[in-house]
Amino acid sequence: MQWNSLNDFLHMGGYALYVWGSFGACALAMAVEPWLLGRRKQAVKERLSDKETD
C-alpha cells in the first residue's frame, strides 16, 4: 500500500485533478455506455411488443 491516509490517496501527490479527471472520465464513460445500450434494447423490445399487439 502506497498511502498513509485517505486524504493522502485523494490528494495524489498534488496530481488529484489530473489523475481523478482521467479515472473519473473512464468510469463515467463505462457507466453511461451500458446504460444507453440497456435503453436501446428496451426501446427495440417495446417496438417488438407493439408489433405483436397490432
Partner: protein, 247 residues
C-alpha cells in the same frame, strides 16, 4: 473437435449469432469486472510512486489501455469490413457498426486522459505532435464512420460504404503506432514493445496489462450487447425475432 468440423458460417447468420452473443455477454462482463478490480487495486494501491512524475504517472493505467483499444477496435472493424465485402455476410457489417461507438469512446478517452497527463508534464493540454494528431484523426475516422452509416437509409448500403471507410482508414493505425519513431515527437516512445524489455517496473507493467485486458473484455461486452440491439432492429419483421427474441 477439429476446427474444420465447426460450421463457421452457421454463426454468420444473425439468427444464430443472436443467442450466442446473449450467452457470451455475462461471461465477458464478469471477466471485465474481475480484471478491473485487480487492475485498479494494482494501479491505485500497489504500484509505487514514479521517480520522475510522482503520482501523476498513474494516468498511464487508463491512458495506455484506452489508446491500445482505440487502435485495436479499428483493426477489428477493418477485419470485419474485409470479411463483409468478400463474403457478403450480413453479420460482418453489424459487427463493424457495433464496434464503432465503443472504439470512438476509447479514442476520446485516450485524448482526454492524454490531455490531463500532458498538462502537468509538458505544460500544455494539447500540442500538434504527430502522435496526438494521428490519434485525433482516428477519433474523427470513428465519428466519420458513424455519421456515414447514419446518413444512409439502406443498412446493407450503409455497411458497404462504412466497410470501405474502415478499410481505407486503417492505414492510420500503423501511422499512430510508429509516429513516435518516425517523427520527432513530444510524446514519449513505447513503454512496452515486442522486441525489447519493458522500460518500467514489473508491478506497473502488470497493472497496465491487466487494465488493458479489462478494457478489452469491456469492449467485447459492449460490442456484443450492441450487436444484439442492431440484429433486432434490422430483423424486426422476421419470423425468428417474433418467435425467439421476446424472452
Amino acid at each position: 473437435m477439429s476446427v474444420s468440423l465447426i460450421n463457421w458460417f452457421k454463426f454468420s447468420s444473425p439468427a444464430s449469432f443472436y443467442p450466442l452473443a446473449g450467452r457470451l455477454v455475462p461471461w465477458f462482463a464478469t471477466i471485465f469486472f474481475l480484471l478491473l478490480c485487480v487492475g485498479l487495486w494494482i494501479a491505485l494501491m500497489m504500484a509505487p510512486t514514479d521517480a520522475q512524475q510522482g503520482e501523476g504517472y498513474r494516468i498511464i493505467f487508463v491512458h495506455v489501455p484506452a489508446s491500445w483499444m482505440s487502435m485495436f477496435i479499428y483493426c477489428v472493424m477493418a477485419f470485419w469490413s474485409a470479411i463483409g465485402l468478400a463474403f457478403n455476410t450480413r453479420l460482418s457489417g453489424m459487427m463493424t457498426s457495433a464496434l464503432a461507438p465503443t472504439g470512438a469512446l476509447f479514442a476520446f478517452l485516450s485524448l482526454w486522459t492524454g490531455s490531463l497527463w500532458g498538462k502537468p508534464m509538458w505544460g500544455a493540454w494539447w500540442v500538434w505532435d504527430a502522435r496526438l494528431t494521428s490519434q485525433l484523426i482516428l477519433f474523427f475516422l470513428y465519428l466519420g464512420f458513424i455519421a456515414l452509416q447514419a446518413a444512409i437509409d439502406d443498412p446493407r448500403r450503409a455497411d458497404k460504404a462504412g466497410a470501405i471507410l474502415a478499410l481505407v482508414g486503417v492505414i492510420n493505425v500503423p501511422i499512430i503506432y510508429f509516429s513516435v519513431q518516425w517523427w520527432n515527437t513530444l510524446h514519449q516512445g513505447a513503454s512496452v514493445s515486442m522486441t525489447k524489455a519493458p522500460s518500467m517496473a514489473h508491478i506497473m507493467l502488470a497493472g497496465m496489462l491487466i487494465m488493458a485486458l479489462a478494457f478489452w473484455a469491456y469492449a467485447i461486452t459492449m460490442a456484443l450487447m450492441r450487436v444484439r440491439c442492431i440484429i433486432l432492429e434490422r430483423e424486426l419483421a422476421s419470423e425468428w425475432v417474433k418467435r425467439n427474441a421476446m424472452e
